[in-house]
């Protein structure tokens, strides 16, 4: 702590320093004794003779009031000099602490961990709060992991107690929801479209302190409004971390009975790293490998496993680094999930061939039938039971909306029955003008050069998402129907002439690479197909859905931390659960099938989260960045004059007391 003084001029100093001696002089000079006649000074003389000493010190010792007056003067002089020191103080009376407890905050480059360091800094800031200041604590990881740990309170002890309840997670980082929580009072909600709408409450500006390493999955695209953000980076500038970014297994097509396990590694440090890998099958080590990875680069490893059909594979990096959570990965070998699909068509080579490849056959059961099948009892039952994961209607549709299957559907060249979907008259030659590339179905699908013959412009339901737009109307859209989705494409892949001959209705199926990509997207997104190339990566905090061949409505879920929950079957027929905070193997136990266990691997596999070097700027939205600060609070000049004046008042009271009580040392 460095003190600063408002220095005086030499003349002022001389005047000030002359005051204490003047007081001493006056005190002794002005000392008048009241004369009092007594019968005899005989006894008094005897009494005082021991005390009567000529030394100045003894005289001064009797003059407690003098000392107190000098002390009072000294305190007054000090207060006038206005001493101060460089300290820290929270300037705002409302403070919000955002504490990142995602996977990267478990890094140990700061001891004992980044999260503990963040909590320590928050605790120090809580101590800086003035009486009457209000503080709020929000812990955040991914969008589901954001929670208000403690709402606004001026109780520092309560804030600190709640701060300690923040535990680390293995989740990714998403700042948006946490910022929404924080903005609750600072930016009271109002309708941006209605100018007459007034804010529900007065805006309460608040200082926002974000304790994080800044490794967010995506920019929150958030308007701070009345929030004054301060980003405090947690962690060292050059941490060491080698993480497992991919781990999957596949059957070796060339060698039947052999399984191959692939591990992808990434060294996020700047120094080369020597990595020791260990592979476990059902907790038994079966293989190991050592490899070195250059700084900020990737590497991979392969393991060949003979005669392994089922089990849980676990790969571990034995070499310690600053983040341990991404040093492990899991893979389940006995994936039993197979998709069930129904294709209803009069005959469509492009459709049939796309859905009946050998690759798809490995992971899906595909049935092809004719539109007449839609009138059969078998179809009605399957539709009502949700037997299928995906039903494709090629230029046909069920008669009524009641006959729509409880499954995802794709309609080519026709719309679903019912009132939800509408279509205009058939048109010819619509030109593609826009698409929705951010939708999973349109990922890597570019239809800008696709020509379309006959088509029906779509009028999808209100909440539908238009995936393909032409100059004559929407040509592809997807909408939710209850718990399933309907994808409607306004044109068929082939046309039929009056004589029954077939012709291309679109160039999309002719040598356009986006068509098979689109089909793959349909299979993954709507069909629930997963194979070694499209194995679903389940990460902590995400919703996991499994289609299992069982009549049970509920399964027992065992999580890696040992807790047991329930996973129920949803309306889509799939069992769903939300992976909690931990990576590892989640087990679904089916009591109806002699406790058969279905296992799901949850892994981090997030390069953003594993890249644990703190960022220097936190991107809030496209234009707003918050630079990192080294300290959580502003350095400010803490003045001490109030303390000195308070002390002077105390001395004055003591002096009054002594004067009245005639108490001396």
């Amino acid at each position: 702590m460095r003190f600063a003084w408002d220095l005086l001029s030499p003349l002022q100093w001389a005047a000030l320093l002359a005051v204490p001696p003047a007081i001493v002089l006056l005190y002794f000079l002005k000392l008048r004794r009241e004369p009092l006649e007594v019968p005899s000074t005989f006894l008094w003389t005897r009494t005082v003779e021991d005390l009567h000493v000529n030394s100045i010190w003894q005289r001064l010792r009797k003059n407690l009031l003098l000392f107190l007056q000098l002390l009072l003067l000294l305190l007054a002089i000090l207060a006038c000099l206005n001493p101060s020191w460089r300290g820290t103080r929270l300037e705002d009376d409302r403070v919000i602490f955002l504490v990142d407890n995602s996977a990267s905050m478990s890094a140990t480059d700061v001891k004992p961990s980044r999260l503990e360091d963040a909590k320590r800094q928050v605790s120090a800031l809580i101590d800086e709060m003035k009486s009457g200041d209000n503080g709020m604590i929000i812990a955040f990881s991914d969008s589901d992991g954001a929670r208000t740990v403690q709402s606004y309170t001026s109780n520092k002890r309560l804030l600190k107690r709640k701060l300690e309840t923040i535990k680390p997670t293995h989740r990714k980082t998403d700042l948006k929801k946490a910022l929404r929580f924080a903005a609750g009072l600072a930016n009271p909600g109002r309708n941006a479209y209605d100018e007459t709408d007034a804010a529900a409450a007065d805006a309460m500006p608040a200082a926002l302190f974000i304790f994080s390493d800044g490794r967010v999955s995506r920019s929150p695209e958030f308007s701070m409004g009345n929030l004054k953000p301060t980003y405090i980076p947690i962690g060292t500038a050059t941490p060491k971390n080698v993480s497992i970014v991919a781990f999957q297994s596949a059957k070796n097509p060339e060698k039947p009975g052999q399984l191959e396990a692939f591990v992808g590694l990434r060294n996020f440090g700047i120094e080369p790293a020597q990595v020791e890998l260990s592979l476990y099958l059902d907790d038994k080590m079966i293989d190991a490998e050592s490899l070195s990875i250059e700084g900020d680069s990737q590497a991979g490893a392969e393991f060949a496993l003979e005669n392994v059909e089922t089990g849980v594979l676990r790969i571990e990096i034995d070499s310690p680094d600053d983040l341990a959570v991404d040093n492990k990965a899991y893979a389940v070998l006995d994936t039993t999930q197979r998709a069930r699909m129904l294709i209803v068509t009069k005959g469509n080579l492009f459709l049939e061939s796309a859905f009946t490849t050998d690759r798809i056959k490995k992971y899906a059961d595909v049935k092809i039938t004719t539109p007449e099948h839609l009138a059969t009892e078998e179809y009605k039952k399957d539709a009502a039971d949700g037997t299928y994961d995906l039903v494709i209607f090629d230029q046909c549709a069920p008669a009524t909306s009641v006959l729509m299957p409880i499954a995802n559907t794709v309609f080519f060249g026709t719309i679903p029955p019912g009132d939800a979907w509408q279509a205009d008259e058939t048109i010819e030659g619509p030109r593609v003008i826009d698409s929705e590339p951010s939708h999973p179905l349109m990922q890597f699908v570019n239809m800008g050069n696709v020509l379309i013959g006959e088509a029906i412009p779509l009028k999808p339901p209100k909440a539908a998402i238009t995936l393909l737009d032409t100059d004559l109307g929407a040509m592809m859209a997807i909408a939710t129907r209850d718990s399933v989705q309907d994808l409607v494409i306004g044109f068929g892949l082939i046309g039929r002439g009056e004589d029954g001959s077939e012709y291309f209705n679109t160039t999309w199926v002719r040598n356009d690479p986006s068509y098979p990509v689109f089909i793959q997207n349909v299979l993954s997104h709507l069909g629930g197909v997963s194979d070694e190339s499209s194995q679903m990566i389940h990460q902590p905090g995400q919703l996991v859905q499994l289609r299992l061949d069982t009549s049970s409505k509920k399964l027992r879920l065992k999580t890696p931390d040992g807790s047991e929950l329930e996973a129920g079957r949803g309306r889509t027929g799939a069992f769903a659960f939300t992976a909690n905070n931990d990576i590892g193997i989640y087990e679904l136990v089916d009591p109806a099938q002699a406790d058969t266990t279905h296992r799901v691997a949850i892994n981090l596999f997030d390069e953003v989260e594993s890249n644990i070097a703190p960022v220097s700027e936190l991107q809030i939205d496209e234009h707003v960045k918050v630079a990192a600060t080294t300290r959580g609070v502003e350095r400010t000049r803490r003045e001490a004059w109030k303390v000195l004046v308070g002390l002077a008042l105390v001395v004055l009271v003591i002096e009054w007391y002594i004067y009245n009580r005639r108490v001396y040392l």
Binding site: V38, P39, K62
Partner: protein, 298 residues
């Protein structure tokens, strides 16, 4: 002469009634000049048998114990105790320091002297009132009998402080003026810077039954002083500058206690009766209680 109005200030009627029932007592039986109510060792004529002695020619035949003659066939004479009078002296310190207190120590001393003197007059004792500042050449009158009460009171009224004669000198002059034996009560505050020891030794030489009544006012015993004071001695003008504080007052108490204890010890060792009297103690209580316990009155 009618009693002076001052009499009522010193002796109230209630006190007089109380004192009438008392008499002065001394451990020592002294020879008095005149016949009084005291029993003396001297053999004389009284009703109190003392001893036998052989008859010699010329003795009064009325005092022959005929029973003894019948038994022993020898003549013995009865000897009786002579009743003599007691000399009571009151020596009052009239220094300026005796004017302090409420009532003043001097007034208190006068009251005490008047009370004891009254007792003596009632019993036919010889009473003499002296003061420390009394010149050697001016002896006090000896008073006997109740009829001389007014004269005693008048003498007491005329006593005033002022002449600060040292205690030793005053006692010495008293001893020179009064060669006789008897009871002496010295009423003083002993606040003599030259000391009291020499003066009291003079009294020892006189072979008096000495009672030292050490009179102090309440203000001297527990002074209620505050602040920074310049204490001025009323007798010699000596100045003592003090700053009153609790430690100082505590130390004063210790000094006073030591002084009192010193005087008590000095007197006790030398056979002098010592009594410390606070002017807050009523005189009748002092006489009837404290002095009775000391054996001065009964």
């Amino acid at each position: 002469m009618p009693p002076n109005t001052e009499t009522s200030n010193l002796l109230s009627p209630e006190l007089l009634a109380q004192l009438e029932r008392l008499e002065l007592v001394t451990r020592k039986i002294f020879r008095g000049r005149m016949k009084g109510e005291r029993k003396s060792r001297r053999r004389g004529q009284s009703v109190e048998f003392a001893d036998f002695r052989n008859y010699v020619a010329g003795d009064d035949l009325r005092f022959i114990d005929w029973n003894m003659y019948a038994r022993l066939d020898k003549l013995f004479l009865k000897v009786f105790l002579e009743e003599e009078d007691l000399h009571f002296h009151a020596l009052i310190d009239t220094s300026s320091s005796m004017e302090f207190g409420d009532p003043t120590k001097l007034h208190y001393a006068k009251q005490l002297a008047a009370s004891l003197g009254f007792i003596g007059l009632c019993r036919g004792d010889r009473v003499k009132i002296d003061t420390i500042d009394q010149p050697l050449a001016r002896p006090s009158p000896s008073l006997r009998g109740r009829a001389n009460l007014w004269r005693m009171m008048q003498q007491l009224d005329e006593i005033a402080s002022g002449d600060n004669t040292p205690l030793e000198e005053g006692i010495k002059n008293f001893c020179l003026r009064n060669s006789g034996k008897g009871i002496l009560i010295l009423v003083t505050d002993l606040m003599d810077k030259t000391g009291y020891e020499a003066g009291l030794r003079y009294l020892l030489a006189q072979d008096l039954d000495v009672y030292v009544i050490h009179v102090l006012s309440a203000a001297e015993i527990d002074p209620d002083l505050k602040g920074d004071l310049k204490l001025v001695d009323c007798e010699d003008g000596d100045v003592a500058e003090i700053t009153v504080s609790k430690p100082l007052l505590n130390r004063y108490q210790r000094t006073l206690a030591a002084f009192l204890e010193g005087a008590r010890e000095f007197c006790t060792r030398r056979g002098i009766h010592y009594l410390m009297a606070n002017t807050d103690i009523p005189v009748d209580q002092l006489v009837s209680s404290y002095l009775r316990k000391r054996g001065l009155v009964r």
